[in-house]
Symmetry: C2
Subunit: 235 residues, 2 copies
């Protein structure tokens, strides 16, 4: 569902990319945006907050909202979790499926996913590439309770888009843990690295808007090809 704030953020972003503010590097004032779009200050501030969280602008009290320089390298956003395909919409994303099977949760997975032991779970193992570089080796589990059907065609594309648009699931939040991991022989071969090499490891637990966990995953990232970006608030 697109709110007014999100739509406004998209429009402002468009104007930034068109270079409309490149002379002063400042957005119009809040009052001007209210005027231009016929919306309330709440919406304008919400849209600016979306852009600020993405590191595209920063507001300074008393001065205005400044457009930030675009970061040069390729970074993956740390604070978003809308799926690989969405988060890297501007890049060429591919997924090579290593495994797609309906399995029963073992004790460990059942504990993590807060489901019954022997509950049915889709297990999906994929190699992900961005702009033709191998980025990550991902193992993901989806509770069949929420995802009745899954196949290779879906898993090759945007699995999250399928869940949202076709199954009607609405997402809430994702718990994310970042730590060091180590490659086994399969992940090393696929990432063009060596067994035992280090990898940045991200464990995600993804919840629906109603607070139910529906997806857990474990991703090992290529130590040269992947780096992450986030902007942290200091208030």
């Amino acid at each position: 569902m697109a709110t007014k704030q999100h739509e406004l953020a998209v429009q402002i972003r468009q104007r930034i990319e068109n270079g409309e503010f490149s002379d002063t590097n400042r957005l119009p004032t809040e009052d001007q945006l209210i005027e231009q779009y016929g919306v309330s200050r709440y919406c304008v501030r919400g849209a600016v907050a979306i852009l600020a969280e993405a590191g595209e602008v920063f507001p300074v009290r008393g001065s205005g909202v400044f457009v930030r320089e675009r970061r040069s390298g390729n970074y993956m956003p740390m604070s978003a979790a809308n799926g690989f395909t969405f988060d890297f919409a501007k890049h060429k994303v591919t997924s090579t499926i290593q495994e797609l099977a309906l399995v029963r949760a073992d004790a460990q997975l059942a504990k993590r996913m807060k489901c019954d032991e022997d509950a049915q779970v889709w297990r999906v193992v994929r190699l992900r590439t961005v702009d033709d570089l191998p980025i990550s080796f991902e193992t993901a589990w989806y509770l069949k309770e929420f995802v009745p059907m899954l196949n290779e065609s879906i898993a090759k594309g945007s699995l999250y888009a399928y869940l949202r648009d076709d199954l009607g699931l609405s997402f809430g939040f994702t718990d994310r843990v970042i730590r060091m991991g180590w490659l086994d022989s399969l992940s090393a071969r696929l990432l063009h690295l060596h067994e035992g090499d280090p990898a940045i490891c991200i464990e995600d637990d993804a919840f629906l808007a109603n607070g139910r966990l529906f997806n857990a995953s474990h991703s090992l990232y290529h130590y040269n090809n992947a780096q992450f970006y986030s902007v942290a608030s200091m208030r």
Copy 2:
């Protein structure tokens, strides 16, 4: 500056920790909190958002605001950047100073910190431990323009608290990049690891509320003792 929202978040957190809601695992409704504290809905929702961002509660439309289980391990928050000492207020934090010197920026640092070459910069190298475990080897730079004085006594404690409370600086946001790094002989020795070992590397660029960069840093984290946590929105 403590806003009403932050004060309210602290009070609600206190009640959670006292176990007041442990029967239903739900906070009072927004209307009840408005009633209990005599504040507006804006404040109540702001306070809940603060707790939700920290992973302590999650709101479900139509149902209420649920208290989450406390995470078991020790994680460092990824989305906060208020300094080590603050972010781990509940832990025993120590900093061993390896170097504290007033130096001139070289070309590389000047570019990163957007200052003149030869600008004066405090260079602070510290080993940080949490609960007596070596956690990270940190190299930080502070522009003398904003930090006229610095000494070992300050750097051993909470440098950020000094900047905020004594120098009156007000912080804005921090750009953060996470990637893989590798230990040199000094950092390896201090972290009780080996030269060439991998480390999670975090590069921070910290900005004041007026958008001026005042601090850059480079931290190498112990691959066993450090892990990070964040909760990502999926809207």
